[in-house]
């Protein structure tokens, strides 16, 4: 810990920096959505920039932000809609980078079901994972099609989205990722039909973002900045070398090597943020308004409290 702090303070862009360690907590087990991080690790981009990154995975996606806030990790992966809630509840975290800058969330139904448009969901069971805002997003989409929550039966399936759909225990699932769940369904010989969330009345947002603690950010900003640089390099390299990148990705962990991941990888390449550090103020303001209107959060906060461009301030 001491060497990390020393590294953080002593670093200057010019001299080759001493290696500093950085603990990153993913939102979930390693999957193709984490591509740039894994590639940066595998290609040694972090090392080149003097970072020694350790990657940890939780079982509960709501834990990483808390652990960052508590100083147990330096960076965590989170979701933008979630961030608004967390800040509203006083969690000292903010967005410092973007991994995937578009929504991935879709509402999936089976292609062989009788649900052809969103309003067909009336009277159906919809599974979701508790992410905090998923119900809100679902409600917004339903309102958009002239329905409300009472018209469906929501079931918390706690991240087992595909099996729930496959076994027909539910008619649709929300919170599915458009790059991953379709591939998973296809693997089992089932076609899915996706309703894209942004087409059903939800403002566009960043799906996967990096979070850091506001309390230690000043100290860690140079490290975070370097981290983003490496992620950027990796994202670029993936776009340039789609096939090679898959080979490199699956070499991270032998259990990654399967057909579903391969398909998902191909579907993910177009989704990676090419400018991870860059930050769009309007997106955060609009989404905050959206949540405020629905009473999910209680108050408005300055956008700077929610997110920042680590390269814009300091260093």
């Amino acid at each position: 810990r001491a060497d990390e702090r020393a590294g953080g303070e002593a670093s200057t862009p010019l001299s080759s920096p001493p290696e500093s360690s950085l603990r990153l907590m993913l939102d979930w087990y390693v999957n193709p959505s984490h591509g740039p991080i894994i590639i940066a690790q595998q290609k040694g981009y972090f090392r080149d920039l003097g970072l020694k990154v350790t990657i940890e995975t939780p079982a509960d996606p709501t834990a990483p932000p808390k652990l960052v806030a508590a100083g147990r990790a330096d960076l965590a992966l989170g979701y933008q809609p979630q961030l608004h809630l967390q800040v509203d509840e006083g969690l000292p975290v903010k967005r410092v980078g973007t991994l995937i800058g578009t929504p991935l969330n879709v509402l999936m139904v089976r292609a062989d079901s009788d649900i052809h448009q969103f309003s067909d969901l009336k009277g159906k069971r919809v599974g979701y994972s508790v992410g905090g805002v998923e119900e809100v997003l679902l409600a917004a989409m339903l309102n958009h099609s002239g329905l409300d929550m009472d018209d469906i039966e929501p079931v918390n399936v706690n991240f087992a989205l595909t099996p729930a759909l496959l076994s027909r225990r539910v008619d649709g699932v929300t919170g599915a990722f458009r790059n991953f769940e379709p591939a998973q369904l296809a693997q089992e010989g089932v076609d899915g039909r996706a309703f894209f969330i942004e087409e059903e009345g939800v403002p566009i947002y960043d799906e996967l973002i990096f979070l850091a603690s506001t309390e230690t950010l000043d100290e860690k900003r140079p490290l975070v900045s370097r981290f983003m640089k490496a992620v950027e390099q990796a994202a670029m390299w993936i776009v340039n070398h789609p096939d090679e990148s898959w080979t490199l990705f699956k070499s991270y962990d032998e259990s990654l090597d399967n057909e579903v991941n391969h398909k998902a990888w191909e579907a993910s390449i177009a989704r990676f943020a090419l400018r991870p550090a860059a930050f769009d103020t309007a997106r955060y303001r609009d989404f905050e308004n959206f949540l405020l209107d629905r009473g999910v959060i209680k108050k408005r906060v300055p956008v700077e409290r929610l997110a920042e461009d680590v390269n814009a301030i300091g260093s």
């Binding site: 509840e89 079931v155 087992a160 099996p163 729930a164």
Partner: protein, 263 residues
């Protein structure tokens, strides 16, 4: 009688106070609010959200009670069967052990898929979680019967079944009670895991929900409801077990054991 009923309650209240003080201390020494809310704010939530909490608590209570009953009946039944037919034991016991060694939550997703998202899967989960502890304590209890009693019973021409029911079973009651008390604290855990894996109502559902929304005070309020359920269940079971053993010293007064008998 009344005194013996109120005294444990008083102690419980004392214990709770100690716990709350500890809790406040932990907060004082820097557990952040978003991980551990202050007792007071939890109390507030308990009052303001009472309707919601009560509604979900009822759902969970039903699952717990059903699971407890199924689990103890199955567990005690297995123990009886195993001690009645000893040859079964050699194959069934390892099988039981194998199934117990599988963490319930590892197969929880499977259970949900088979038993649906309704109370069924939660009851199954609660049943599973207490089944083995109950079966194994009961079985251990049933094995430790004083052999003299069994000898006597067999000279009287007592069939194996009657020996089981009239000798082994009453002799094992203290062990059974021990198993049931433990089951009373484990059954709620089973129901909550079941709700976490998939549900649309219940305290576990509420806790997950609140956790996702960072409403830690609501989450802890739900936890407190769960605690109250668990403790009520425990004391009910404890009392019933005592009532089932009127010859035991706890009941008959401490001087009943003049002749050095087993208590």
């Amino acid at each position: 009688m009344t005194r013996s009923l109120y005294l444990p309650l008083l102690r419980l209240i004392l214990a709770t106070t100690v716990l709350v003080v500890l809790w406040q201390l932990v907060i004082f020494f820097g557990a952040p609010r978003y991980m551990l809310p202050a007792p007071l704010s939890v109390m507030q939530t308990l009052v303001t959200q009472w309707g919601l909490l009560w509604h979900h608590a009822l759902v969970t209570l039903g699952e717990i009670v059903a699971g407890f009953l199924c689990g103890t009946l199955l567990g005690a039944g297995t123990a009886l069967v195993l001690s009645r037919w000893a040859f079964l034991r050699s194959t069934v016991l390892p099988l039981l052990l194998l199934t117990q060694a599988i963490p319930v939550f590892a197969i929880a997703p499977l259970l949900v898929l088979w038993f649906g998202y309704g109370p069924g899967s939660k009851i199954v989960m609660a049943t599973l979680i207490i089944y083995f502890p109950v079966a194994s304590t009961c079985y251990d209890g049933l094995r430790q019967t004083q052999t003299g009693w069994l000898d006597l019973a067999s000279t009287m021409g007592g069939s194996a079944n009657r020996q089981l029911f009239y000798i082994r079973l009453p002799a094992a009651l203290p062990s059974l009670a021990s198993g049931l008390r433990m089951a009373a604290t484990a059954a709620p855990i089973g129901a909550i895991i079941g709700e976490w894996v998939g549900s649309s109502a219940g305290l576990g559902y509420l806790m997950l929900q609140a956790n996702g929304r960072m409403q830690t005070d609501l989450m802890f309020a739900a936890l407190i409801m769960l605690l109250v359920i668990t403790i009520t269940l425990y004391f009910t079971v404890d009392r019933l077990c005592r009532l089932a053993m009127p010859w035991q010293p706890d009941h008959a007064g401490r001087y009943a054991l003049l002749n050095g008998e087993m208590t």
